[in-house]
Symmetry: C2
Subunit: 167 residues, 2 copies
DNA sequence: CTAACTGTAACTATATTAGTTACAGAAGAT
DNA sequence: ATCTTCTGTAACTAATATAGTTACAGTTAG
């Protein structure tokens, strides 16, 4: 989800976006977005401006933000987690399995990080654009204003709920 | 946790283990173990025998089971998941972000799978043994019987709860 | 000063997983 | 045959994590 949010901002091209409008695109609540933006701000990925005409924009250029940066900013735990209760210390396997698993987890994590570090936000937007083009070039030129319009249009509809997601 | 269970079995060297004893080592409930064992049995990683003197053992040799096999048997969803609700289809970014993210998710998943596929159960046990040796060689020779003894010893103590885990 | 924003606390809702109790059925032991 | 010791599985409760909601204080442009 955080990737979605930052992609929006990269797409809006330095125009500050309001949490309400971002929420419309992500199809969620503005507060959820603001919470996430706070995390992203702590990691210096976005800057927000309070007050009227405020909003959030990227703190760096899209080519200087990788998916790894985003992942580290919002994801607290690693890819997998260990036992919820510690294994039995009286069992020869139980005592030592933890350190073995931790080594494996470290290997997995660093593999994931390697993949994510190779993808920048700019690339993500690039992967997006070929599809967007089919809608028409006006959307691209309009930038942030388009999002605004979309949000306004959506506001009059009821809510709907369907699938599942975290990024 | 599944890795823990299968490591126990590899360690027990083809001796069938009872769910109750495995549960003692993992420090959880026998039913939780049996549920997991059922999943592992569906994936043909273990075989179980009902009835008295029953139990479970590995269906293949430890060197023929990788952590990827275990991961795929037990973990239903990929490493990350997508939006819990679908993004706004009226937003140019919202419509297309899903397919972009799916591509990324696929890359991440295959990186994880590559790492896991390179580690066999036999190796996991090997990483374990240097530590176990410090306890004394008797434990190693005793095999399944040792687990039994450990379980019996533990049974008289109260319960305790502390940390966190999934594999 | 006011309107339009963000930041954040406090709470509720939902989903996933673990743990528990209970019991039917399988197979060795007698 | 039947008792005992196991697995398999259903049905429920508990714990945890995340999302969503409401509410409001603080900030800034006009």
């Amino acid at each position: 989800m955080a990737v979605h949010v930052l992609t929006l901002m990269a797409w809006a091209d330095d125009e500050p976006l309001k949490s309400e409008h971002v929420a419309e695109s992500v199809n969620t609540n503005p507060v959820v977005i603001r919470r996430m933006l706070c995390e992203l701000a702590e990691s210096k990925l976005v800057v927000s401006q309070t007050g009227s005409m405020g909003g959030s924009r990227l703190a760096r250029q899209p080519e200087e933000i990788t998916l790894l940066d985003i992942y580290q900013a919002v994801e607290s735990r690693g890819v997998f987690s260990l036992h919820r209760h510690p294994p039995n210390p009286d069992c020869p396997v139980g005592v030592n399995i933890g350190s073995v698993l931790n080594d494996v987890l470290d290997e997995v994590d660093s593999a994931v990080e390697t993949v994510l570090s190779k993808i920048t936000l700019k690339e993500a937007v690039g992967r997006l654009k070929p599809c967007v083009r089919t809608v028409g070039t006006t959307a691209r030129i309009a930038g942030a204003k388009t999002l605004n319009a979309v949000a306004t249009a959506k506001r009059k509809n009821g809510k709907e709920h369907t699938l599942s997601a975290r990024n």
